[in-house]
């Protein structure tokens, strides 16, 4: 079995931990728990090409990512998350991608626009998201409903398999 380290990056409260919980445990918690430092989880993916063991590093969100560079070492991929209801969270797409690539030039990326279930309060449009993701894989997810959550990680797996 192949194991890969995947880092989840994004601003505060965009739903990184909820995405991990939905993906790993299949559940959602309405309460908000701020992640301190990092939280590590694991999920096995049975793929046609072979089993993949995703070690998910859910990093605390924030403006200053300089202190989490050590956490990015050895990451094979990154899931960069923004909140569709908060336009300012879109900036992390570019910033986090650059930071992850600076540590791991070969890392694959998937961009997740989370909270797609909040239709009425959505502020970010398709064009802005496409521009921020610079042509990278973009998925509209909802940790609350589970929509496209697994797909986001499958995209990571596909890219990793394609690169292998």
């Amino acid at each position: 079995m192949i194991q890969k380290k995947i880092c989840l990056l994004g601003d505060f409260s965009v739903g990184k931990t909820s995405l991990v919980r939905r993906f790993v445990e299949g559940r959602y918690d309405e309460r908000y728990h701020s992640t301190i430092g990092v939280s590590v989880a694991r999920r096995r993916l049975d793929r046609p090409a072979g089993a993949l063991n995703f070690i998910l590093w859910d990093l605390a969100g924030g403006e200053d990512y300089a202190h989490i560079s050590n956490y990015l070492i050895g990451a094979a991929g990154g899931l960069i998350v923004c909140d569709l209801t908060r336009p300012e969270t879109l900036q992390c797409f570019t910033r986090c991608a650059a930071q992850l690539r600076a540590v791991n030039p070969q890392a694959v990326l998937v961009f997740a626009a989370n909270k797609v279930d909040l239709v009425e309060t959505r502020c970010l449009g398709e064009d802005a998201l496409r521009e921020a993701s610079a042509g990278g894989p973009l998925v509209y997810t909802s940790a609350k409903t589970g929509e496209q959550v697994a797909r986001a990680f499958e995209l990571l797996a596909e890219q990793l398999e394609a690169r292998a």
Partner: protein, 519 residues
């Protein structure tokens, strides 16, 4: 006069004038002719000189032209040489500083790229000269090398010393706990009965070491490299453990280490369980156990990590999640666990069943020996006054006599001041002879108190001395229950008289060995 005449006149005048002139100017004409001849000669000479000069000039010109051609050829060659020199200057490090300036960025870029993308090749290329380079640098700039290496060496030494101090303190604490108190004494007895050393038994009782897990983790990424579970303790998710331990190590290093320091978290305690982290360049090992590790356990871990890096450093560093790129690490972890558990103080084996009667017999013999020893001790204690007498002169000739003496030795003889009369004394004395007298002995010292004749009985075997002093020569020994006649008293000494072998003898005995009997 007509014109013709005029003309002829004029012609004649002219002829005459010419003749006159010829006459007048003949010398001048001759001189002029000479001058003209000279001029012609000079002109001729000039012409010839001019021709020579011209020929010479032409020759010179030809030579100049030849020289010009040569100069042009030389200039051409010089130009080409200058071009070559310029090309050489461009290609060769004539201007070292400039060349270094020009190539440094490219070199740095190349080195950086190689260091990132082809670390193994870089290492292989540099390895052969690294040792020699370091040696040269040390030889030439020793102090600079020391300053450069001090942060690393100092940190390593400090870490090793800290580890040693902790281990020493732990061992001392454990041994003190095991040795002090009644439990320590009991443990000593039990250890001797079981045939193991006290320290081993104490450690076994006080430090129940139990290894649960050995987890080998890639240093930077936190990816699990290998895991060994001993069966003790709960089953753990090694993937999560390796990730979280790595995150914690990063967090601690970022939070508590000063800039430039390379300190690492090396131990975590939680309740009865402990995690020791032993780091290497590309991987580190986490040992999860309960109790207190045996002596040398950390050194074992350190040696294991060092050996592992020596053999598999490239594979450990390059690991990106594909297990087939790694060597077989689990057997090595298992072997390490076996070695660690072998280092635990040995458990004493229970006594075989057939040896238990022998142990009981031995215990019985021990009890008997102990009883005899007690009796002997009490016997010796009783004989102590005899062995070290203060004023008695007990004869040593008869052991049985001596043995019986202590029973009566404490009886203090009393001497009545109102001694009986001589007549009474004679009546009671069983060995009274004619030599007996009621008067004080003549041999008594001046200090002796005259004692009316009375009788006494020796309470034990006692020396009879010639004078009332321990240093006085012995006369003989009187057995116990010998009836004597008392003649005088001098302090603690009594002058007695008795009859033996048909003759009356006299001497001094200690008063404590004499029971006075009133007449």
């Amino acid at each position: 006069m007509n014109d013709a005449e005029t003309d002829s006149a004029r012609a004649a005048e002219a002829a005459a004038l010419a003749e006159a002139r010829a006459i007048l100017f003949a010398p001048e004409r001759e001189r002029l002719g000479q001058l003209e001849a000279q001029a012609r000669d000079l002109a001729e000479r000039l012409r010839s000189a001019d021709a020579a000069t011209r020929a010479q000039g032409e020759a010179l010109l030809a030579e100049v032209q030849a020289l010009r051609r040569r100069v042009e050829a030389e200039a051409e060659r010089l130009q080409s040489t200058e071009g070559a020199v310029a090309e050489l200057r461009r290609l060769t490090p004539v201007d070292t500083a400039g060349v270094v300036r020009q190539i440094t960025p490219a070199l740095n870029q190349s080195l950086t790229r190689n260091a990132r993308e082809a670390r193994d090749e870089m290492a292989e290329a540099l390895a052969p000269v690294m040792g020699e380079a370091i040696r040269t640098q040390i030889r030439e700039s020793r102090s600079e090398m020391i300053e450069a290496l001090y942060p690393i060496i100092g940190s390593v030494v400090q870490r090793a010393l800290n580890e040693f101090a902790r281990e020493l303190q732990r061992n001392i604490d454990a041994r003190l706990r095991a040795a002090v108190g009644p439990q320590g004494a009991l443990r000593s007895v039990v250890a001797r009965l079981r045939g193991v050393s006290e320290s081993e038994l104490a450690l076994r009782d006080a430090l129940p070491f139990s290894l649960h897990d050995l987890v080998l983790i890639q240093r930077g990424s936190g990816l699990l490299l290998a895991h060994y579970h001993s069966g003790h303790g709960p089953t753990t998710d090694a993937d999560l453990i390796s990730g979280m331990l790595t995150a914690i190590r990063h967090f601690v290093r970022d939070s508590f280490s000063a800039e430039g320091e390379e300190r690492e978290l090396d131990e975590i305690d939680y309740g009865e369980q402990h995690i020791i982290l032993q780091g290497g360049e590309s991987a580190y090992i986490a040992a999860v156990f309960s109790g207190i590790e045996p002596t040398g356990f950390r050194a074992q871990l350190r040696q294991f990590v060092a050996d592992l890096h020596l053999r598999h450093n490239a594979a450990l560093r390059a690991y990106a999640g594909e297990a087939d790129t790694l060597p077989a690490l689990e057997p090595q972890l298992k072997r390490l666990a076996g070695e660690a558990e072998a280092a635990v103080p040995t458990q004493p084996t229970p006594l075989p069943r057939h040896l238990r009667p022998l142990l009981a017999l031995g215990a019985l013999i021990g009890v008997l020996v102990l009883a005899i020893a007690c009796f002997y001790l009490q016997f010796t204690w009783a004989l102590l006054p005899l062995a070290f007498p203060r004023e008695s002169a007990t004869p040593l000739s008869s052991a049985t006599t001596i043995a019986l003496a202590p029973a009566t030795a404490t009886v203090t003889p009393t001497l009545s001041a109102t001694a009986p009369t001589t007549a009474t004394a004679r009546a009671t004395a069983t060995t009274t002879t004619a030599a007996a007298t009621v008067t004080p002995s003549a041999t008594a010292t001046a200090a002796a108190t005259a004692q009316p004749a009375s009788t006494g009985v020796t309470t034990g075997a006692v020396w009879v001395r010639s004078a009332p002093a321990l240093r006085a020569p012995t006369v003989t020994a009187l057995p116990a229950n010998t009836v004597v006649t008392v003649h005088s008293v001098n302090g603690n000494w009594v002058e007695v008289e008795w009859s033996a072998e048909g003759r009356v003898q006299r001497g001094w005995v200690s008063r404590r060995w004499l029971r006075m009997e009133s007449s």
